[in-house]
């Protein structure tokens, strides 16, 4: 099976984020990491390749820094990478991102495309589904298991409130992968060495520009959420905090 994994670089989970001067995006001088569900998507692709043979290709769109995500994926076992490299890719909405990805792979023939179920920055949870529609492929979202069968694949979708559902679908298809579908591997030293010699195709904005149009949704303003609740902050040495908490548990919340 030939599998494409769409990956994204996002700010680290505990990175302190600051707004830019225009209040429309964050200041970019933070630490980044791979979007968590995308790491599970990559792992699933590598496992499928180990079972069925084939190729795992990773793709990202973003500035030069985003290449780190692809390097790590190559070190873990992906065969080659595609980098749509331009600062402008950061500001694309889900539709334009999917269009850019579709344009970059127009000469490729994949059996499956994986994305993480959503990104930790925008959190649209849309790019994979839109990509499927643009390619004319079926899709399934929030996948917790997949197996190949004679007619295509059988996937396990996570639903709400502890429910699941199996879905049979033909290939090629797009799947959005849920965190926790598998156990992530670490890159080995030899993998890191080999990654340096694996192919990395760069795609410039100009090469996909004709597929894009102005964003259909616009961030007018980004801001720290207004508090809707009055929060009491307790501080001091730990022993003192413990005493204050117990006092509240006992006298205000009456749970002790």
């Amino acid at each position: 099976m030939k599998i494409l994994v769409c990956m994204k670089q996002v700010p680290q989970k505990d990175a302190p984020l600051k707004l830019n001067e225009s209040g429309t995006w964050i200041r970019e001088d933070v630490s980044y990491e791979v979007n968590e569900p995308d790491a599970f998507a990559l792992e699933e692709a590598l496992r499928q390749k180990e079972k069925h043979g084939g190729e795992v290709v990773v793709i990202t769109s973003g500035p030069a820094r985003a290449q780190q995500v692809l390097r790590e994926a190559l070190a873990k076992g992906a065969d080659r990478a595609i980098h749509l490299e331009d600062d402008a890719f950061v500001g694309l909405d889900a539709l334009n991102t999917a269009r850019a990805l579709a344009a970059a792979i127009k000469d490729e023939q994949f059996d499956l495309i994986f994305t993480g179920l959503q990104s930790d920055d925008y959190g649209f949870a849309q790019t994979g589904v839109i990509l499927a529609e643009l390619l004319g492929w079926p899709h399934a979202t929030i996948i917790m298991h997949l197996e190949k069968n004679d007619s295509g694949i059988r996937v396990k979708r996570e639903l709400e409130a502890g429910f699941f559902q199996f879905v049979n679908m033909p290939l090629p298809a797009v799947l959005t992968i849920q965190s926790g579908i598998n156990k992530l591997r670490y890159a080995t030293l030899i993998g890191i060495k080999q990654a340096k010699n694996k192919p990395m195709r760069k795609v410039a904005l100009a090469e996909v520009q004709s597929a894009l149009s102005p964003n259909l949704q616009k961030i007018e303003r980004l801001y720290v959420p207004q508090k809707t609740k009055k929060t009491e902050i307790l501080d001091g040495p730990p022993a003192e905090i413990a005493k204050k908490l117990v006092d509240k548990l006992r006298n205000e919340l009456r749970v002790l």
Binding site: G123, Q126, L134, G162, F163, E220, L222, V224, L234, P238
Partner: protein, 328 residues
């Protein structure tokens, strides 16, 4: 008059309660903008649900009733709704941000040449302009987002953003119109099977009065023990955010959030939980929330009643001792 179309959700003839919230959202926007509100029900054998929805203050309810819409399928649902939207030309289409809507709404919007502003928590009328508020960066920021094209605009609302019990009843039942859809069986590619639950849930956290919940801040599996001691001292249940269960540090049936259980205990004590949206939707109904986290900007503090900014490993051991003292 511009109209709002609310797409409600049902499973096997039973309305998903979150639909009332979306109707309440539609009614609120309509009142602010001077628009009308209609609703649509999609499925097979849905006359009962359509009738239930029609009791609300709506100008019309469309029933998209077909055996081909019996079990949810993205191809069939998108095709049916595309026909309705093309025929009725609503300015705004509202949906609840459920797993099912997440599965078809981006596809539907793409087919319409439009976009979805997803997972909104509210809206604002900015002059004549309608902007939608949504969380970004895992809840660390809010964003006001506007549509960059003409309608139909599509938006989904996060569970709990509006109060379902505020959905207004109509003076008389709204007319229910059957809207016939054409679905080409050959164009429906996915073959879904029945819903199922993995295993019987051993614990029903919805009944717990006190919940001690752990997140990534617990760092290692062996530290779960500390949280368990705290839960035991308080006479409560232990629970966790998704990553902890993904790691297998606690069983999946201890998970709180959109993919786990939704709880509303008297006390929810969050240890090292940052408060991603997916977790918060499962516990924001708690009567009191105490959060201990070393990151002062963690979104969990936005909804906490009592915030302790500090290292949980420093605070929890003396807290357990104090509780034991008081109890003895």
């Amino acid at each position: 008059m511009p109209s709002i179309l609310v797409i409600v959700e049902q499973q096997q003839g039973k309305l998903n309660r979150v639909s009332w919230e979306t109707i309440a959202a539609g009614q609120a926007i309509a009142a602010d903008m001077g628009w009308s509100v209609e609703a649509a029900v999609v499925g097979n054998g849905i006359a009962g649900v359509a009738g239930e929805v029609a009791a609300k203050k709506l100008s019309k309810v469309y029933a998209l009733d077909s055996p081909k819409l019996d079990r949810y399928n993205p191809d069939a649902f998108a095709a049916a709704l595309k026909q309705l939207i093309a025929a009725k030309q609503p300015t705004l289409v509202l949906m609840p941000h459920t797993y099912q809507v997440r599965d078809f709404a981006p596809k539907l919007a793409t087919q319409l040449g439009r976009c979805v502003i997803s997972d909104c928590t509210g809206y604002k009328k900015d002059g004549e302009k309608l902007v939608f508020t949504r969380q970004m960066f895992q809840g660390k920021f809010s964003a006001d987002v506007s549509f960059g094209s003409d309608g139909p605009w599509l938006a989904t609302f996060q569970n709990g953003s509006f109060r379902g019990d505020k959905a207004e009843d109509g003076a008389a039942a709204a007319p229910v119109e059957t809207f016939a859809v054409t679905i080409d069986a050959a164009a429906v590619r996915n073959q879904p099977e029945e819903w199922f639950k993995e295993a019987k849930q051993a614990v029903d956290l919805t009944q717990a009065e006190i919940i001690v919940s752990v997140g990534r801040g617990i760092k290692e599996q062996k530290n779960i023990e500390l949280a368990q001691q705290l839960a035991a001292a308080l006479g409560g249940e232990i629970a966790a955010s998704r990553p902890i269960c993904d790691n297998g540090w606690l069983p999946m049936d201890r998970q709180i959030g959109s993919s786990g259980q939704t709880v509303s205990p008297k006390l929810y004590l969050a240890l090292g939980i940052s408060g991603a949206i997916q977790h918060i939707v499962g516990m924001k109904g708690a009567r009191a929330i105490i959060a201990i986290n070393k990151d002062s900007e963690a979104p969990i503090f936005e909804i906490a009643d009592i915030a302790v900014v500090g290292n949980l490993f420093d605070i929890v051991p003396p807290l357990i001792e104090e509780i034991k003292k008081v109890k003895s």
